[in-house]
Symmetry: D2
Subunit: 323 residues, 4 copies
């Protein structure tokens, strides 16, 4: 069956809700709006919820700011601050913890480069605390950062590299940053998902990720993701569904046409979509200006993370520590 691709819990829920009344069993949802920023917290409570949603038990907080598509420094600052708040809320991070920030994805593939690009502006301090403990003392969080690359570039599973470094430097918390696939173009580079479940196998837009989570690492993992692409198959699927729905509205229930449409099953649709997109696999849909959008949103992510991890540093001090 054709599977609409999404890495966002809010969209997995929307898709379910589309065909059902009431909330998903085993799932709690809490929404709030602050001016032009919407916060949606989806909590998967139990195995039922996890199964329906196709995602592990845990919290998924989404920060949605559609106006990020227009440059607006004030909004960008606000979203960065909101991200910091969400990270602090979901992780109980504090300056006494050692934190490892991991930028997942392939730096050679523009929409997959979000993680590595974000890492570039993380305030890295672990070595400074070791080299100059008096100057970088107790009020500084010991942060390290790396972009491990992807399997096709290194020949090593990303999860293997992360696991080996975690075992070596023993952080108290791991934060991952990853580019995601969404099913709605309006979410591209305007929505941030923060979850305490880590990375599940198969998510992310690049080479399918292996699990990077509490279970695999033995350390809590906060996963931060931003959708940067929509699968081309999703666009084709949406077009077909819109046509179906338009046709159905124009024919009487019970008529022969209605029955044809009703009986067109997922396999038929999948075959159609494959035909449209053949012979390419891995076709993605992005806004033309994706290079610029990645640059902006990665800057917001790094600011948010820095604010969460280093409450005792001024912006100037952070800038001096960024390379």
């Amino acid at each position: 069956m054709f599977n609409i691709r999404t890495d966002l819990a809010v969209e997995a829920r929307e898709m379910y809700k589309g065909g059902h009344a009431g909330e998903i069993p085993g799932v709690l949802v809490d929404e709030s709006q602050d001016d032009n920023i919407k916060i949606v917290k989806v909590t998967i409570l139990d195995d039922d919820g996890a199964k329906t949603m196709g995602k592990p038990i845990g919290d998924y907080i989404t920060i949605e700011a559609p106006d990020l598509r227009y440059r607006d420094i004030e909004l960008e600052d606000k979203v960065a601050q909101k991200l910091a708040d969400v990270i602090k809320k979901i992780s109980n991070v504090n300056v006494n913890m050692k934190v490892l920030v991991i930028g997942l994805g392939n730096w050679n593939v523009t929409p997959d480069a979000l993680g590595p690009k974000t890492i570039e502006n993380i305030v890295v301090t672990r070595h400074l605390k070791e080299l100059a403990p008096l100057q970088f003392g107790e009020n500084i969080c010991a942060v390290s950062a790396m972009a491990p690359g992807v399997l096709g570039i290194t020949g090593i599973e990303t999860a293997e590299i992360v696991k080996s470094v975690v075992d070596k430097i023993k952080p108290d918390l791991v934060i991952t940053i990853d580019a995601l696939a969404s099913r709605r173009v309006e979410r591209l580079a305007t929505t941030i998902q923060v979850s305490n479940t880590g990375i599940s196998p198969g998510s992310g837009i690049g080479n399918k990720r292996s699990a990077i989570n509490m279970e695999s690492l033995g350390v809590p993992v906060i996963a931060i993701g931003v959708p940067t692409v929509v699968d081309a198959a999703t666009i084709a699927n949406d077009a077909i569904e819109h046509l179906e729905s338009a046709l159905k509205n124009n024919v009487e229930s019970g008529s022969p046409l209605y029955n044809v449409l009703k009986n067109m099953n997922d396999e038929d649709k999948y075959a159609l979509i494959r035909e449209v997109l053949s012979p390419e696999e891995n076709l993605i849909v992005t806004p033309k200006e994706i290079d610029l959008l990645i640059k902006n949103i990665s800057s917001i992510l790094s600011r948010g993370i820095n604010l969460a991890l280093q409450p005792n540093l001024t912006v100037d001090e952070m800038n001096q520590l960024v390379h």
Copy 2:
């Protein structure tokens, strides 16, 4: 009406042929196949042909090598050589001419950066012939090259910049390189179109280009283009057409369903597509590895152009002259 977007003459013809018997009036087509390279020459003979095709009178030669999607040095060399042959055939270029090569497009937008990337490896000699005429003498073609950027970056129409430089340095021939939009994903980075009509207003994937042609510059213009994106709207449209066609095949002609489908006009389709893609404009579909594909095909283009313009230089000599 929704307009399927293509910059390729072979596709404009295919789309017309799809609904009609026989060749397009005023259009000649000649095809040949050399192993895994197909050459299609579309000649638009008169105003009738130009109107139907939506393109100016002239020759459009397409080099199609689907296997370019797999790295194959031998095939790449062969395509570069074929491109050189086509350029020589379509332009009567010779080493006594002064040639200006223009890389169109926006270097900050990966799929639009084809032109600027190609320029990087053009063998530039105009200054050498002036500075050292004895060493770089009569058997060297005087080549200059530039990437003028796009309107949004410079505030100046690309055509204005090109025109002003052409008026100043007075080349005998202008060659442009541009990223195109195709309607078939299998043509992305595997098809090269060479035409002697120059650039028409509105073509190219970036900011719509103004005319850069014999009429505007007073100099012959060879336009080389490679499709690097498909409009997302094209994918949505194709999905809808496939569904229509599938449904039509399942219903009897004259039945009520058939009539509904028959009567679904272009405007209905356009409205559907807009709904699927809203609110983004400028959504593009590309293979995920587009960064790499652009790198490879731009290298083939520069080699082909260098071979066409500098028949008296060895590959080593060319390499020493490339920066």
Copy 3:
């Protein structure tokens, strides 16, 4: 004779002053200090001054902020504002003028890429005023921008390209940005020179520039430059001079040793330096972190220029207009 290389008027003056009492005839100097920013205005009044200084008659204002080597957002903002003030003072620019900003230098050579990098963040508005005169009306300065490349890349003299575009779009003012050579390492990326004389032949760190000035373009030219390299020959020369001076201080005037040293002429020194640096020409000295320094100082330059040209735009509005 070996010629210490500097593009800074303040250094040309220092070098003269080193061997002479009093100010240079035909040259006025005015210094002021504002906290950690020093402003030096060198005015070359007449041909005598021009000949001694090796630079054309005109004003050369230098902004020196040695602390720029440490990231300090407040200082960076202050220097950007100071640059805006200096530009406005030296050029009588106003929002009714059409301004063309030119980023000189080779984007492939890190320390020469200052001009092109600065251009990336210039607020470009010329096309907006033409396309949407009501929205981008009388209070917006019509700014265009380009990085014409260097002779080795384009085969065309930079001055030719600039001249042809200026003739076409007829700006009221041209502003150039260029990487310079200094003779003092402490000035690298910490000193900005603004002059109303344009670019003289032979200056800049890249391929020697041709003249880009009022005389060649028919339009006033403000040249903004920042030293990014010291010639390796300068370092070698300084080492030798320090040794000479140390030796001279240790021997009595009139002694044989003193005479030997006194008689070691410039040619001897030049031969020594050539021997040290052979066989490379074009050796440059830079701080190891030059990539980062170029990024920071180019950001300050673009902010200062934007502030000078667009007094009626907010920072947010500028950001939305930058690509």
Copy 4:
């Protein structure tokens, strides 16, 4: 005392030989010339040799090809082949080994980016052998590759990251690539050193490296390095020494001047050099076109390594496997 900085064994030997007759005790030297490529093998036999040379016991093979400064495809191919030969000779690598290639250095600092740039074109196969053992079978060497970054970027000692990954994936051989400092400008980007001693603490041009060798990793380590910078202090020192020597030749032995010069000790010289270069530390001397040189030499390195590790793959097959 001022220490002339070199990471090359051949230069450490030259510096010693400058002041002494005969070969260094505990050191063997073997030179051969093949057209325009010179191979020098320096073997440090015992602790005496190690102490004098300031380098660990082992083999250091240097490939010197001064003509690499001119683009010459044939020479580049020859040097790549020679590098493959040297690697095979010094390491007894074979296709049944698992090899990890490490690109040391900071990708944001042009002359330090040699290692990471080389990694980009290494044929990576470890995952393919695991995923498709039948297709990528016994005749393919299992190669993985990574660029771990530098301490200032990650907050983690490079050696720690390498050690943790080596412990995890257990390669049979580690190959490191690193940018070096030379004391001769003519060696920049034209000399390749291959040694079986691994990386000693404090070498490399970037942040001083920690040891990456047999002792620290428990696996043989082949270190490949190319000089990309000369310390500015070396240039200043050379200038002073040339002057000294010139002066000494002009004065009689025993004269007062001769004695002054003779008594000018290393500390005096060091003070002079510090004065010339103050206040910058970390000043480097490079050719202006260093960006281009790094690109070329890193391509030669990756080709040489690929040839050594994958004798059973054709060039086309390698290209298809490179990302």
